[in-house]
Every structure is written in structure tokens, then in C-alpha cells.
């Protein structure tokens, strides 16, 4: 199974919570189960896709780590919400020239007023951050992606070291990553995300 560009964007993109109420919020949940089949869900806030594998840093993954060591079967979900509604409609995507971060601002496809707001936002951004790359895009129907596969804990190697370096930038030099969770995808389910959040 291959992770598409759309899935990769949903997994990796950073959604900057600055402008209400047009901003999406992304949720990542990891479900694991032990040898006896008792499931457990963990909230994840960061994931990366490398060589068609999902990489999650092991930050306070207590029960999940134990479960993966016992049973590698996992299920992973990514969904985007805008307040209580799933994300859809127009959006500006900004690739920041300095931080190399991709930031998304989404506005639902309802009326001209919102389109005007989007254009105003685009002008403001363009004025204050002229070096960034901008792209106005139309989001497709809101969905969530469910990934199923085998996971393992990795505590060495290039991917681990890169992730450790990245975490040190965020949390300081003293921070040492316990390990990374490497997920090999076996099955991907793509489903419409109706109004689940309330």
C-alpha cells in the first residue's frame, strides 16, 4: 500500500492555530492492543512519512510502547476538523521560506464573503512574509484516513537520529528521544468524515 500525496499532507502538515474560526485542527490517534487483544488509544501530535512508512516519535508513549513490543498490530487514524466541522473548501497553503514549514489556512466553500476573507488574508500574508511560497487550493471532500499495519520500536539508525535531532531543536539539547515507532502500512481506508465532532 502506498501513502499518497494527500495522505502525506494530512499527516505531516502543521496547522497553525492563529486565526479563528477558519483554522483546521488535525487529530492523530494510535490504537494498539496487547497479546490478549485489549485495545488502547493514544493521542499523537506529530508524525512523519519516510519511505512509505509512518514515523512517530516516542514521547511518553507508555502503554502503546509495551503493546507494540507484545503485539505489532496497530491502527492509526488522521482526521482534520475545523471547530466542530470537518475541513473542506478553499485554503491558502504557505511554505515558509525560512522554517520550511507548510502552513494551511482553510475556509469552507460557503459564499463570497469567505472567499473575500481568504483573499484579504492572502494579501496580508504576502505583504508581511513575501519570501514564502503561496498556493490557493480547493480542498476536496473531508475525509479521514485509517492506516493499519505492523509497528516496531526503533532505537538506532538514521531515521532515529534525524528525529532525535529534530526533537532536540524543539525541546532543548538535553532531550533524548526514547525511540521511534516505525509503522509499515498494510491497509489504508479512506472514508468520508461526516459531522462526527460535536
Amino acid at each position: 500500500m502506498k501513502i499518497t500525496k494527500e495522505m502525506k499532507e494530512a499527516l505531516e502538515e502543521t496547522y497553525m492555530p492563529l486565526f479563528n474560526p477558519f483554522l483546521p485542527y488535525r487529530v492523530l490517534y494510535l490504537a494498539t492492543c496487547d497479546r490478549e487483544g485489549n485495545p488502547n488509544i493514544t493521542v499523537i501530535s506529530f508524525a512523519k512519512v519516510i519511505d512509505n512508512k509512518i514515523i512517530i516519535p516516542d514521547i511518553a508513549l507508555l502503554k502503546s510502547r509495551l503493546n507494540i513490543e507484545e503485539n505489532p498490530d496497530i491502527s492509526f487514524i488522521v482526521a482534520l476538523y475545523r471547530n466542530y466541522q470537518p475541513v473542506g473548501g478553499f485554503g491558502i497553503r504557505i511554505l515558509h521560506a525560512i522554517t520550511k514549514r507548510l502552513i494551511s489556512i482553510d475556509i469552507s466553500l460557503l459564499g463570497r464573503i469567505k472567499l473575500r476573507i481568504l483573499l484579504t488574508l492572502y494579501k496580508i500574508f504576502k505583504r508581511f512574509i513575501p519570501r514564502a511560497k503561496y498556493k490557493i487550493s480547493l480542498r476536496k471532500e473531508p475525509k479521514y484516513f485509517e492506516f493499519r499495519g505492523k509497528a516496531k520500536i526503533v532505537r538506532y539508525g538514521k531515521t532515529y537520529e534525524n528525529m532525535n535531532k529534530f526533537m532536540k531543536i524543539l525541546f532543548g539539547k538535553k532531550f533524548e528521544l526514547n525511540g521511534i515507532v516505525e509503522i509499515e502500512i498494510e491497509e489504508i481506508k479512506e472514508k468520508k468524515l461526516s459531522d462526527h465532532a460535536s
Partner: protein
């Protein structure tokens, strides 16, 4: 049973009880704060500065682990939750309910799980589920036996029965070096037959019947075990007989008893 083994068993018992009982409640009660997170209607909050809530359900379907978003849940009893869900579920499930709020944080904060405590609150409810139909809608009835904090992952509440099963699981794993549902079921039954009771609270606990276990001779112990296994083979059928035989061998290895004849579980 040899006194040495009985002592080890008792030590394992005591350690596990102390570990398991520290800081948790041994009964389940979905309190008003949890009920609020589970049932309250957040849909009118149109601003991102106001909270919104999400429910996610993890379960096993045809042996495969799945996680799905859930629309609505309702608290039925102090330990029962009705979940609106189309999937046919039977067995153990985990329901995660979280309320997200305050998005005025910096970009980096989203990356950190440990730092995002103020942004969300929630609980994870674990228990056994049964599918139910009310009119045209499909539901599952979740009987909660464990409650965890969604952020720290700390266990907050657990029923005594679940605790007992877990204790036995732990004992079987650490003492006999075996795992699996059959082993646990047999060990559970064996402990009941020996009339061992775990009583007490975090500070003060006692194990009833451990002296009886110490005094018991190997022959007597094996006899009881044999009867138990026979009972189980009648209940569960032939496919378990093989694993039971292996189990029995492991039991006797641990007891350092020299079996006079080879163990074999027969069906009657």
C-alpha cells in the same frame, strides 16, 4: 506444593497487589465531569477559542484492530455507556473522549504531547461491548471496567474483578512463565479451588488461604489440578487439550515434582 514455591507465589501476589492498587479506585463511577465530556453538546461553539469534543473507538474486527470516529455517546449507568456505532462489535473495546480548547498557543506546542495538557482533557474508557439495536439505529453497550486519563495515560479507576483477572495474568506470566487465555482461566479456577481470596485496600491487604497452599502436598496439588483440567477439557473441547497438556507439564516443572506418568488430557 513445596513451601519454597508457595513463598515465591505469595511474594509475587503481594508485589502485584501493591503495584496494582497504588493510587486507583477499585470501583467504576462515571462522575459528572466525565459525563459532561461524554454527553455535553458542544456543537453551538462556533469559535475555535471555545472547546469541541471528539470520540474515537478502538476495537477488534475479525482479528484486526480498528479505530473509528463515533458520533454520539450516552451515559446509561454509573458504569455503562451507549455508543452510536454501525460496526458489529463483541469483545473488549476502548473509547477515547477528548475536549479540545484554547488554540492560542505557539506553533511548536502542537508538536509536544506532554505540553499540550492545557489544550485538551479527556478520558479513555475500556471495557466489554455488546451490539444493540434500538429502533433503526445501531448501538453498542459498553460496560466500563477501566478508566484512564487520556493525557497522562494514568489509570484512575478499575473494577475489582478486572483487577483480579489482571493479577492472575501477572502471576501466571511471572511465576509459571506462560501466557494466554487458557492459562489464565485455569489459574483463576485453581485459585478459586484453593479458596485464595485477595482482600483489602492499598494500605492494608491480606491473602486468605495462603497457609493452606503452603501445607498442601505435591500429590494433593496435582490431583486438584488434574480434576480442573478434566473439567476444562469437557467445557472447552478437544482443541484445547493439547495446550492444556503443555501447560500441565510446565506446572509440574515449576513444582519440581517428578511426574510418575506422562500427562495426557483425555476427553470423556
Amino acid at each position: 506444593m513445596l513451601p519454597k514455591e508457595a513463598n515465591i507465589l505469595e511474594q509475587v501476589f503481594r508485589k502485584r497487589i501493591k503495584d496494582e492498587l497504588s493510587g486507583i479506585k477499585t470501583s467504576i463511577k462515571i462522575d459528572s465531569e466525565m459525563k459532561d465530556v461524554l454527553e455535553k453538546n458542544y456543537s453551538k461553539n462556533f469559535s475555535a477559542s471555545l472547546p469541541f469534543r471528539l470520540h474515537y473507538l478502538a476495537f477488534r474486527e475479525n482479528g484486526k484492530l480498528r479505530i473509528i470516529p463515533v458520533k454520539k455517546v450516552r451515559v446509561m449507568d454509573k458504569n455503562k455507556i451507549l455508543v452510536e456505532c454501525d460496526a458489529k462489535i463483541k469483545g473488549r473495546v476502548a473509547l477515547l473522549s477528548c475536549v479540545y480548547s484554547k488554540f492560542e498557543e505557539e506553533n511548536e506546542r502542537l508538536v509536544s504531547r506532554s505540553l499540550s495538557i492545557e489544550e485538551m482533557k479527556g478520558w479513555q474508557f475500556k471495557g466489554f461491548a455488546k451490539s444493540k439495536r434500538i429502533g433503526k439505529e445501531s448501538y453498542i453497550l459498553l460496560e466500563v471496567d477501566e478508566i484512564y486519563c487520556a493525557i497522562s495515560g494514568k489509570k484512575l479507576q478499575e473494577t475489582r474483578e478486572r483487577l483480579r483477572i489482571k493479577l492472575i495474568q501477572g502471576i501466571v506470566k511471572s511465576f509459571f512463565n506462560i501466557s494466554g487465555n487458557v492459562a489464565i482461566a485455569i489459574a483463576n479456577r485453581a485459585l478459586r479451588k484453593f479458596r485464595i481470596e485477595i482482600k483489602g485496600s492499598e494500605e492494608n491487604f491480606s491473602i486468605k488461604g495462603s497457609n493452606k497452599l503452603k501445607k498442601m502436598k505435591t500429590k494433593e496439588f496435582n490431583k486438584i489440578l488434574c480434576t480442573l483440567l478434566k473439567e476444562y477439557s469437557v467445557i472447552y473441547g478437544e482443541r484445547l487439550a493439547k495446550s492444556m497438556t503443555i501447560l500441565l507439564e510446565k506446572f509440574s516443572e515449576n513444582l519440581r515434582a517428578k511426574p510418575k506418568k506422562e500427562w495426557k488430557v483425555c476427553l470423556k
